[in-house]
């Protein structure tokens, strides 16, 4: 589900956001309001957050509180049905293009884990090894290997094995899943798929036929070993907003083949360490915090490479305060600092110039180190046998408990 290589030519108008390219207008910031408008999805406002809190009887996840997950499609339908006692299942995924995962990659998984725990619902996780094999020109074996390696980091996010099914396309495509793929494929013309995904005459047929693979996990009948007899079960897809065009296609097709449209809950983009306008790239290890980074690495990266909104001199800083709009440590704390009150305090003091950049960075380093440490410990407990178990086609009798 990751961004694929740049296919679309840079459009003249403002920003470009699609599964393969995300860039802001004039090298500025992404305008999320415009994006919601253009895509036609809905804002996730405070009333939703309150409703989730009521329904799940627990504090809403930090990503909800801070507006990291900020847009949705039909999330209200999911909540309405849930209130009536109708459960749903979660679907998310990863395109295993590299072994190195950074914190940005973990965000949808952290949020999905929260959803699984809060609503007590099952989850399917798709590893699109075939996609990466095709787009990144990896060998079949290598993409399968990466899928398994990534699965370990995903499992380390804390998913409950009795409610979670992880599958790789190379392993699982076939049977009922493939039947749904054909049903979906029949509903999308060549022109449409070119229009949505920007394919050209030079692209190989593998790419053209891939989209249904990512669409059909939205339909419960794709997983007969899990949801047999539950054709009515709804699906909620947590993802980053650049995946929206993708599921627009799926939602368009769903009613035509007699299925519920999947609901979506979408997140902002996780900024690169060097700033919103920078791009996080696997080739630049300093653009992101990796789950394999040591405490020393994190300290170095934040101190040396994080783009800050602090002023050039202490005097100026005390006078004008920090520019919170572009300050990366503040943005990262917004994602990862649990304590609302503390974050508010930091923003206030830093914005007023009373707190210095160094202090903010120091706090960020603490928070990130704790997260990475916890992840690493959990990752160490994941064995190959555990991956096999998560990926086994098996019933999950307690998936709604």
């Amino acid at each position: 589900m990751e961004k694929v290589e740049d296919q679309n030519p840079q459009q003249e108008e403002d920003q470009v956001v699609n599964p393969w390219e995300v860039s802001a207008k004039d090298g500025g910031k992404i305008d999320y309001d415009k994006l919601i408008d253009k895509f036609g999805c809905q804002r996730l406002d405070q009333s939703f957050v309150d409703r989730v809190q009521r329904l799940t009887s627990r504090p809403p996840h930090v990503f909800l509180r801070r507006g990291v997950f900020f847009a949705h499609r039909d999330f209200n339908d999911i909540l309405d049905a849930y209130e009536r006692g109708q459960k749903f299942y979660l679907y998310t995924g990863r395109g295993p293009s590299s072994e190195a995962l950074h914190l940005g990659h973990l965000i949808p998984f952290m949020f999905t884990k929260y959803l699984q725990d809060a609503f007590k619902v099952p989850l399917v996780i798709q590893l699109t090894d075939d996609e990466k094999c095709m787009w990144k020109n990896l060998s079949v074996e290598e993409s399968q290997r990466l899928a398994r390696e990534n699965a370990k980091d995903i499992i380390a996010c804390g998913f409950d094995i009795s409610k979670t099914f992880i599958f790789s396309d190379f392993d699982y495509v076939g049977g009922a899943f493939y039947k749904n793929m054909v049903k979906v494929a029949k509903c999308v013309t060549y022109n449409k798929v070119v229009g949505i995904f920007g394919f050209t005459g030079e692209d190989h047929i593998g790419k053209l036929s891939f989209p249904p693979v990512q669409a059909v996990p939205s339909f419960p009948s794709s997983f007969p070993h899990l949801f047999s007899g539950k054709d009515d079960l709804r699906c909620l897809i947590p993802c980053a907003i650049d995946q929206d065009p993708y599921f627009r296609m799926t939602r368009d097709v769903a009613p035509r083949i007699g299925y519920h449209k999947p609901a979506l809950i979408e997140s902002l983009f996780f900024p690169a360490l060097q700033g919103e306008t920078g791009k996080m790239s696997a080739s630049d290890p300093n653009s992101a915090i990796y789950v394999t980074d040591s405490a020393k690495d994190i300290k170095y990266k934040v101190n040396k490479h994080a783009f800050t909104g602090g002023q050039e001199t202490i005097e100026k800083h005390r006078q004008y305060g920090a520019n919170l709009e572009v300050d990366i440590p503040i943005k990262y704390l917004n994602f990862f600092l649990e304590d609302d009150a503390e974050l508010e305090h930091i923003k206030k003091e830093y914005g007023a110039g009373r707190m210095l950049t160094g202090e903010v960075k120091k706090r960020l380093i603490e928070v990130l180190t704790e997260i990475v440490e916890r992840h690493r410990r959990a990752r160490a407990a994941v064995t190959d046998e555990m991956v096999d178990a998560f990926m086994a086609v098996r019933p999950l009798p307690n998936m709604f408990d």
């Binding site: 725990d117 499992i155 804390g158 998913f159 409950d160 094995i161 009795s162 040591s294 440490e373 916890r374 690493r376 410990r377 959990a378 160490a380 407990a381 994941v382 064995t383 190959d384 046998e385 555990m386 096999d388 178990a389 086994a392 098996r394």
Partner: protein, 320 residues
Amino acid sequence: MAYSKDQLLARLKELQIEFSQYEHPVVLTVEAQAKYVGNLGGALSKNLFLKDKKHRYYVVSALADTKVDLKVLSQRLGLGKGGLRMAAEEALVEILKVPLGCVTPFAVVNESARHVSLLLDQGFKAQEYCFFHPLSNDMSISLNAHCLDKFLKSIGRDPSYVDLEANPPVGKDQPPDLAAFVPSDAPILSDLPVKAPTQDSTGKHVSAASNSAAVAAKAIKPSGNAQNVKEKPVNTVQPSIPAADAGNFVEELLDRASALLLSEISEDSIKQHSGQLGAEVANNIKKCLREDLKNLATIFKNTAYTEGFYAGTRYQPKRL
């Protein structure tokens, strides 16, 4: 790491120990071995791997013809009448690192067998050479008892030969004559614990302490430094560390809770809350630890499920 046949043979050559080697199909019994090397002039050996009630282990290596009476041996060792029995197959693999049918004096070269006692039949001395398995059933090597001694001395073992057929009285005034052979400082090993499944699932025996199982257990330990994960303060015979260990899990939970508790109670907090300190601390602990402990519990659950799943895939349905 388990000594391999090749390593052993190389070592013997290094020590300039004279021996001859004969390859043959895998054999599990002395009779089978006899088919291939029985008429080459040397004496075949029979090798027993025994254990006593206190989980101490013994290799008894004797001429094939020597009568070995376990009851007598048990008394002579001072273990009472029924103190010795054949060790379990798992122990063979765990401690001696050899497969079934392959017990051999050479197995004590393994670190895991450091505390295994070795009893050699004095009958070996009278033979020109004797046959033993060199850590593998598909080969037999023949060597003189003298040469065997040289090898044993090189690994710090004191070769001592015993009249295994003797049956001296053991009683109040006659101490057990083989009492010296009982391992003195062997660690007390409980019966080998449930092993976590490992990478090497092809063999019949689940091998001990795969890195992942060990690392899994270590991950539960309260160690802030990830580098420590690779170290294993495991006892010498290396049973595999059970991955879903309730004891470790609980220790980790208690460690975290008590660490937090200690940090919450200070002069300041006592002054601040006085009588209400208990409730205040209890609340804080719940708030801070809730997510952390749930994560630990999920890891524990996933590990236990995986063990069960692995066992289930190798389950043999009841024979009707």
